[in-house]
Symmetry: C2
Subunit: 421 residues, 2 copies
């Protein structure tokens, strides 16, 4: 079989310039989340196929990279379908593995458990610009905390991190699955139709209110219900007034505590935020994953034209592993989008070390090399980044390349002169 | 299908205590290697099956986790063997992907290219204590540097890093494939038998010289050849004298430059090393991978009773991708072994942030929460790690747990007293 030079379809080799930013952002994320009391944790990249195909991942379950059984367990002759051939798959998110992890280790973990995960996930999506089949996710989750302190801290931590990367022009949009449901209920939709209605509502930012109205009517929903529904969105403002309006208007359909809690989250975040950004109540926010049970949120960045982070409450997932529900809420950053934005903005990683290069004449004698090694050691001990390289025939070009790579202090070391350095 | 709580066989969930050490060690490795001028880079975890099964990985190729084809490309009905079903696999090391990466990107990379890779690799090995099917490797490689400056810098960087983790009681063992061959040639073995002879020689540290002698004779090699061979090992000392002895004794079988270069490597490392350790010429060092072409080295740690890092020169691998050989040399740390040793030694990660916790009385009013959030914000800005949690019924137990987790400064926040805090 011939060797292949390109990476596998849809996955990406990371060049040093991008890696410098990635490493920096990962360090900053870990450091910021730590100050909020989140602890690093990790699960294997390979997950049981049963856990990945448990209907919690929605469409992502269609995109799993599946792993072939090994040894005697693999029976190619009698295999009828994919699941006969595989026993594992690459995780498509960090949330399902986190639920398994918590179910497995709850006794060894603090309660509530504030988890921070940074790791790759894989989806066999159709390759397209800026979307890759292996990409990094950075999640924080609070497990075992039923109150909205979880939401408040997740939003404060995520936005503090974005602020440290010099992002300010962004909006945190918040909604609650229960408000979505109450609005649908108030408008006369039947409970079994909610999911379908929400899928159409989710297109609001793309097709507008008229588009949503048209699609709902096409699906056969009564004009009266659709008009009532869309009328609500006109009346609801994107601030705490909007929430208070919902609380009053949707009385009988919406639990009062839900509205009060939403108001509390928004005003707490407004009051304690570490970065400059807007918080907005967005009753059109849906979020795809079916596992959300309460609050949902997203970070929208104007310069990106879309969401760069998202999350919400999923109080029923851990119970699927343990038989006992555990409150859970998480926020996930679109790491690849953040890095893409930083690269596009020409972001410069701060506080680099001073860089120094020694160029050795061809066939430098032993004494010369020992001398240079000793000088390099002293430079490194003084905190410098030091490169030792053999001098090339085209030294001018070599130095230009080194300059471009940040090595401004370049020492030429010749056999005859090295003693004087 | 029932959900599973345990991780997949042979792979491991990482608990926060271990993750703290892992994160710290990764940070230290990146920082140290950077001062030696290595640049971060990354390849996807999934690699073309053709590249993984190219007979460069030796026995590791039997242990590949293979990835099922997707969509129309998967034809279960007509599949006869594994390779009909798969198109990718999880990488079993970082070296083969690095060679592909360099072949793909050489024009965009500096020359020589000093690469640093930290990433997971996967091998479907028989599960056993301390060995996992997903494990992290940390490699540095210098590509495009034919001279022994590569070996010297790789050894200096790796040992500097081990020194910063307070490891000192270790030995760097060095040999050269060409010395191995010259010794076998001198002793009268035929070239086609070298590999078999080296596999037996590799057991020297386990079965001793008598065991090696017995096995070689069992394989049918002449007593004369075997005696000459083992006699050499008796005479060769583990220092530069040993190398000089080889240079003289193996004249006609060993290129003089190989011996001179080995001597140069050992004396340079001795002279410029940043940590306390021993360097030893070890003519019995073999190293399994078939891709090594020159120098080979290993770090042996007494307290571990085995190798914690290994590497060598592999000048022929990149040529398999490009058709043109490129000098290459690398050193890989057994990250999992290092972490295991640190955990066993009760290693404490230095320079932690001061930790402070606020405990909120049940149903704390909004004003109280806002006050606590403001105080926490100020603490974080002052560099502290701050946890906000709801007070539990058994507050004494809660505080004991927080203390154990390093939160020594704990503030009780009651509805009535929060204004006075």
């Amino acid at each position: 079989m011939a060797l292949k030079k390109k990476p596998v379809t849809g996955m990406k080799d990371m060049l040093p310039a991008e890696m410098e930013i990635r490493d920096y952002v990962i360090g900053l994320i870990k450091d910021t989340y730590k100050t909020f009391g989140f602890s690093s944790m990790e699960t294997p990249c390979v997950e049981h196929i049963e856990n990945l195909c448990s209907k919690q991942g929605g469409d992502n379950e269609k995109l799993i990279f599946k792993i072939l059984k090994r040894g005697e367990k693999l029976k190619i002759d009698t295999a009828k379908e994919e699941l006969d051939l595989v026993d594992g798959g690459l995780r498509y998110d960090l949330t399902v593995p986190l639920a398994r992890y918590y179910a497995n280790h709850a006794n060894e973990l603090p309660s509530p458990f504030k988890a921070m995960q940074i790791g790759n996930v894989w989806r066999a999506d159709r390759p397209q610009r800026g979307r890759f089949r292996q990409f990094m996710q950075c999640d924080i989750d609070i497990l075992g905390e039923a109150g909205n302190l979880a939401e408040i801290e997740l939003i404060l931590a995520t936005t503090a991190m974005l602020g440290k990367l010099d992002f300010h022009n962004f909006t945190v949009c918040i909604n609650d699955r229960n408000i979505l449901k109450a609005m649908a209920s108030y408008s006369g939709f039947k409970e079994e139709d909610y999911d379908e209605v929400f899928i159409i509502l989710d297109k609001m930012d793309k097709i507008g209110a008229d588009g949503v109205k048209a699609e709902l009517q096409e699906m056969g929903y009564s004009a009266e219900n659709v008009d009532t529904y869309l009328g609500l969105f006109d009346e609801i403002s994107g601030d705490v007034e909007g929430i208070r309006f919902c609380k009053e208007k949707l009385a009988g359909h919406l639990d009062v505590e839900i509205a009060d809690s939403m108001e509390m989250i928004i005003s707490s975040v407004e009051s304690a935020k570490e970065a400059e950004f807007k918080v907005k109540f967005d009753p059109t926010l849906v979020r795809g994953q079916s596992y959300y049970t309460g609050t949902i949120f997203e970070v929208v960045m104007d310069e990106f034209g879309g969401s760069v982070a998202g999350g919400g409450r999923y109080d029923k997932m851990i119970g699927k592993f343990t038989g006992q529900d555990t409150p859970a809420c998480g926020f996930s950053i679109g790491f690849e989008r953040i890095v893409m934005l930083l690269l596009e903005n020409g972001y410069e990683v701060p506080t680099r070390r001073e860089k120094k290069a020694y160029l050795l004449e061809k066939n430098m004698h032993k004494e010369g090399i020992l001398k240079v090694l000793a000088m390099a050691k002293a430079d490194r001990e003084a905190g410098k980044q030091v490169l030792i390289a053999n001098m090339k025939k085209n030294k001018k070009f070599q130095k230009e390349q080194l300059n471009a790579d940040g090595y401004l202090d370049i020492v030429d070391c010749y056999r005859d002169s090295v003693g004087e350095l």
